[in-house]
Amino acid sequence: MPPYPQNKNGLSAPWPWLVTVLALAGLAALPVLVVATNLLVPSQGTWSHLADTVLGDYVANSLALMGGVGLGVTLGGVGTAWLVTMCRFPGSRPLEWALLLPMAMPAYVVAYAYTGFLDYAGPVQTALRALFGWQSMRDYWFPDIRSLGGAIAVLVMVLYPYVYMLARAAFLEQSVCVLEASRTLGRGPWRSFFGIALPLARASIITGLALALMETLNDFGTVQFFAVDTFTTGIYRTWLGLGKPAVAAQLGAVLMIFVAVLIALERLSRGGAKSHHTTTRYRRLPRIPLTGGRAVLALLFCALPVALGFVVPAAMLAAWTIEVGLAQSFGGDFLHLAKNSLLLALVAGLAAVAVAVVLAYAQRLHPRPLVRLAVRVASLGYAIPGSVIAVGIMVPLIALDRSVARTIESWTGMSPGLLLTGTVFALVYAYMVRFLAVSAGSVEASLAKVTPSLEAAARTLGCGTVAALKRVHLPMIKGSLLSAILLVFVDVMKELPATLIMRPFNFDTLATRTFTFASDERLASAGAPALAIVLVGLIPVLLLSRAIAKSRPGESE
């Protein structure tokens, strides 16, 4: 029998699904479109002024950041992935999941931690002075972490896991058969790696690299703190400092060109190298046992990222929290901040997953190109920096609020003020745009579990689309829904630039308070809220690690 044509819909006439999916996709695409149109707006005086003065710096700094981070995460990510999947050395098994730990760290938190760790009063310089008997700053030279180089180092430390994770999965997916074929054809293990394994994993590595670079462009906290001027800091400053929304939007539009180039390059590399595995037989990966000096080197190479990206900054945060005092750290304001963060993240997580369910289900009901395009567009937000999304939402929202206020005023003579701008609603909208792809991906994948015949069975047993969704689909994908909520939840907890720009007046979260403490040079006080963010961020990383430890796709026969 030919497989069922995917609902060419006889299944009731669910046109409301079609309307809903198009409306949601439109809402999700709106901020991107708003910012993109600013490329076409005739330039204003301020813009040409910016172009003459800072724009060159922004471009140069962004390119330098991307170059440095790209190189660092590729070397670190691919190298560690290869070592832990293909070699056996002391600690290689626990390192396999420990290498993911830095994912729990927002870049700005690592930046704050290292600033404290490495500054004049910090443990490193104090120890050096004690060791060598130096009296003051003039006696020795010490590198300044608050620099372009420092920003690159910090971003590499927290972003290499993207490349690591995807490269590792790609290596595990490769059947050992092709590697063995290479060996029997006379190539040694290392030449097989460069000749076979690496080219086969190329597309995955580039995807990981593209994700890391998108995060680099998105970063605000690190570059702001290190005074490295990039587009995100520029947008923040022109929006909140200069009060020039149009200019901020134009900066955002230029930043989006960077993102578009990244997406295009990533697509290009994937399309060019569609490598299919030629064998379906998988065998246990024979790991090359390393001994002596080689084992030590491998261990150092893999342990270093974990130590630098997680252990040191986490220890620093913990030390600060204790230094300030536990009661002081977690008392008073902290609970209030935590409540704001948790509620916001929970609402955003639920909203993002609810929208993802609607999109995915509507796509199943209406598998036409238009709907597929709409869902694609709706998921674009993952690539767009939070600051750009913030501007793209605030500009139309302010305009809408003003016209509503004017209308109401003309009717009643009283101005209601701004209704949507600067509300939690606007903030949740921004999170949803930014993180929809995270939830949509996992919902879509898990809906595949509901086979067409299960859906048809529900229908013939009397369920309409909504009832089938409620009684069959959702219960079947419950687990994936929870993990999707969790992923968005954690991302929202960490999110900084959009929250800073869009938060209601006097509304603080753990992330914004960490930022303000650090900006005010009260690093020790930033310890507790930062630590809380990291601890929550650990949950999905640990779940991921557990999944890695349990399932070994490359090793099951």
């Binding site: 029998m1 030919p2 069922y4 044509p5 060419k8 819909n9 006889g10 299944l11 009731s12 006439a13 086979t451 015949s453 299960l454 048809a456 069975a457 529900a458 229908r459 013939t460 047993l461 009397g462 369920c463 309409g464 009832a467 009684r471 069959v472 219960p475 079947m476 419950k478």
Partner: protein, 347 residues
């Protein structure tokens, strides 16, 4: 038969893209009757079934259930409002519900006590009452099939639709489950439309069989009529391999290696003879040389060489019961059952 009850499909056509998968199909099924759609892969039988269920909307034609139009004339009643039961090839049991939950799924409008009673009654009927608390993945294929049958029948549907319901079972289990399913369906007196590609299964289950080919119904009749007077070579050949050759009638007679047959057509004809058409008889009219002989259990399969009256020799296959297997090269004599030989004008 009254068109006011059961299922009636009139002039149904359906396309996937440019391909016409169902081409002017008309069927009717009375309450309590079981009709099989029989045909090779891709003949449109499953699509016809899905149109009856409302899972597809036909491009043309009407579907009526118990006298009311449910598809066509601008109407398309969605499957959830048709009151049909559908038994899927992969059973499609909901993995997140226990056996009882699956059977209760379609009758949630009943009061809880009635719902439970009805579900248990249906599980009782299919012999699965002891498994009410089990999860679908704990059941064997045959058990899952029974639960799926109970689930589909629980809402007392006006029409049951079965999509290759036994293809996932191994042969011995299949015969048993088939028998039980037939009994349950008959006991519930429900109009049933079943899809299968297995002629033996269709003969066993069906009151009437519709043989389909390339979207069209070639013949729709009782199984014995299909077998004994197939409407065309395709239908004749579908019940098993046939010996086939063509010949030109002369004076209303066709001279063939298996004897002479009356023929009313002019021009080229196809002659089809089932392997069962011949039997060994010491005074038979046909002389044949045995090429190979293979025992198949109850019958033996012989390849024979017979003389063609139009010149030369012809190889035929014969399926016959014989006490001792003839040796290769042996000369035997055959008698022919003319009701198993069919003559059709060539298209």
């Amino acid at each position: 038969m009254s068109p006011q009850t059961g299922l009636s499909m009139q002039g149904i056509s359906h396309h996937f893209g440019k391909m016409r998968v169902v081409d002017d199909v008309s069927l009717n099924i009375a309450p309590g009757e079981l009709v099989c759609l029989l045909g090779p892969s891709g003949c449109g039988k499953t699509t016809t079934l899905r149109i009856a269920a409302g899972l597809e909307a036909p491009d043309a034609g009407t579907v009526s259930l118990n006298g009311a139009v449910v598809s066509g004339n601008g109407i398309h009643l969605p499957p959830e409002r048709r009151h049909v039961g559908f038994l899927f090839q992969d059973y499609a049991l909901f993995p997140h519900l226990r056996v009882l939950g699956n059977v209760e799924f379609g009758i949630d409008s009943l009061r809880p006590a009635d719902r439970h009673a009805r579900a248990m009654e249906m599980l009782e009927q299919v012999g699965m009452a002891d498994y009410a608390g089990s999860w679908p993945h704990q059941l064997s294929g045959g058990q899952q099939q029974r639960v799926a049958l109970a689930r589909a029948l629980a809402p007392s549907p006006a029409l049951m639709l079965l999509d290759e319901p036994f293809s996932g079972l191994d042969k011995r289990l299949r015969d048993l489950v088939r028998d039980e399913t037939l009994q349950v369906l008959k006991r519930n007196k429900v109009a049933t439309l079943m899809v299968t590609h297995d002629p033996e299964e269709a003969m066993f289950m069906a009151d009437r069989v519709a043989v389909m080919r390339q979207g069209q119904v070639m013949q729709f009749d009782r199984p014995e009529v299909l077998y004994n007077s197939p409407a065309d070579p395709f239908v004749a050949a579908f019940f098993g391999e046939v010996n086939q050759w063509h010949a030109r009638p002369q004076g209303g007679m066709i001279r063939s290696p298996l004897g002479d047959f009356a023929c009313s057509h002019d021009g080229e004809c196809d002659v089809l003879a089932r392997p069962e058409a011949v039997r060994m008889e010491s005074d038979g009219a046909i002389v044949a040389r045995v090429l190979t002989a293979r025992p198949l259990g109850p019958v033996s399969l012989l390849h024979l060489l017979v003389a063609d009256p139009n010149g030369g020799n012809l190889e035929i296959r014969a399926r016959l019961a014989c006490r001792s297997l003839p040796a290769e090269g042996e000369i035997i004599r055959l008698a022919v059952d003319p009701t198993q030989v069919f003559v059709y004008p060539r298209a």
